[in-house]
């Protein structure tokens, strides 16, 4: 019988107090629970990311699409983030910030730069059933304003924006 570390997934020998690899405590019995008297914590730790999905914010480009085309589509659809897929696998994400830093500042020609040169590779993502708190934590730790939401087979469901999270909180925090 092995105990799998909740932090790094290392398989520890049963009875260990802490993970031999990352020193994460192995003595917690349950996942943390929100305070009973705290409506905000309750909502954030129990409501799933699925509550934020609109199904409307999902743009996908391929690694070889040019930044010029992506910018045109951003302008037309009033979007600011696109997932980059290659052979049905998520390989990157491009937001306005990536375009500013990696294309506009070095004065590159938009019509020749490809998505794969600009994208942030291997982005963090969440699943629809994850609690909203988990998405908030990823956004806060990584400084991301967009997070892809993926199905278990890796296909995209949506992109959630930090603003969607705030809007949800604004709606739910009223007692």
């Amino acid at each position: 019988m092995k105990i799998i570390c909740p932090s790094c997934s290392y398989e520890n020998i049963e009875g260990e107090d802490r993970c031999a690899q990352c020193f994460h405590s192995l003595m917690q019995r349950d996942i943390p629970r929100p305070r009973k008297d705290d409506n905000f914590q309750n909502v954030m730790m129990t409501a799933p990311v699925a509550e934020l999905l609109t199904g409307k914010d999902l743009l996908v480009a391929s690694t070889t699409d040019t930044i010029q085309r992506i910018v045109k589509i951003f302008q037309e659809k009033k979007k600011n983030c696109v997932l980059i897929y290659k052979k049905k696998k998520l390989v990157g994400i491009i937001s306005n910030r990536d375009i500013l830093r990696r294309v506009v500042l070095p004065h590159k020609d938009l019509s020749t730069v490809k998505a794969e040169e600009v994208m942030t590779a291997n982005p963090e993502f969440v699943r629809a059933e994850d609690p909203i708190a988990y998405a908030v934590n990823k956004m806060a730790m990584g400084g991301f304003r967009h997070l892809p939401v993926l199905a278990n087979d890796g296909t995209p469901l949506s992109i959630i924006m930090i603003i969607d999270v705030l809007r949800y909180i604004a709606r739910r925090k009223k007692p």
Binding site: N137, A140, V165, R171
Partner: protein, 158 residues
């Protein structure tokens, strides 16, 4: 961990207690070209456009990409031609809860902050706000994988 419920804290905590001292601002005459450099130097995606300490607009990376790129625009033109005008500001002494409401409703990433005299003193970014909110969960949440009983193939999860 704070001991009060979050709803109470959102009313009690004031904006000035959570903001960073960093503010990227420029006059409306600054050119788009200079603005791009200023944003990148400061690792920011916004510039609060102000004149005599009064907020006149906000210029963001979204304005740049939606209005300037691929539209054949002369980059020597001033920011005031492309900035978002009539921006909402908040007094720095207002509760954090108000900022969440305003950002959520308006979809803004940045809210310029003013003092009692209406002068620009700081800015509240959506990232600052999210970091503030993230402090309210039990810290163990940080270390949990998406599914607590799911094991990754490698320690890195790759």
């Amino acid at each position: 961990m704070e001991t009060k419920p979050v709803e109470v804290l959102l009313k009690e905590k004031k904006i000035y207690q959570i903001v960073n001292p960093k503010l990227v601002q420029a006059p409306p005459e600054m050119t788009v070209e200079e603005a791009v450099n200023l944003m990148c130097e400061n690792k920011a995606g916004y510039i609060v456009v102000a004149k005599n300490k009064k907020v006149v607009g906000v210029f963001t990376e979204t304005d740049l990409i939606n209005k300037v790129l691929e539209n054949g625009i002369d980059w020597k033109r001033p920011l005031s031609d492309f900035m978002t005008q009539d921006v909402k500001t908040l007094n720095i002494k207002e509760p954090v809860g108000h900022a969440i409401d305003l950002m959520g409703q308006g979809g803004f990433y940045h809210i310029p902050l003013v003092n009692d005299e209406g002068q620009l003193v700081n800015v509240l970014s959506v990232r600052t706000l999210i970091r503030f909110l993230a402090e309210f969960y039990p810290t163990e949440v940080y270390n949990l994988p998406p599914k607590p009983n799911q094991a990754m193939a490698t320690p890195e999860g790759g």
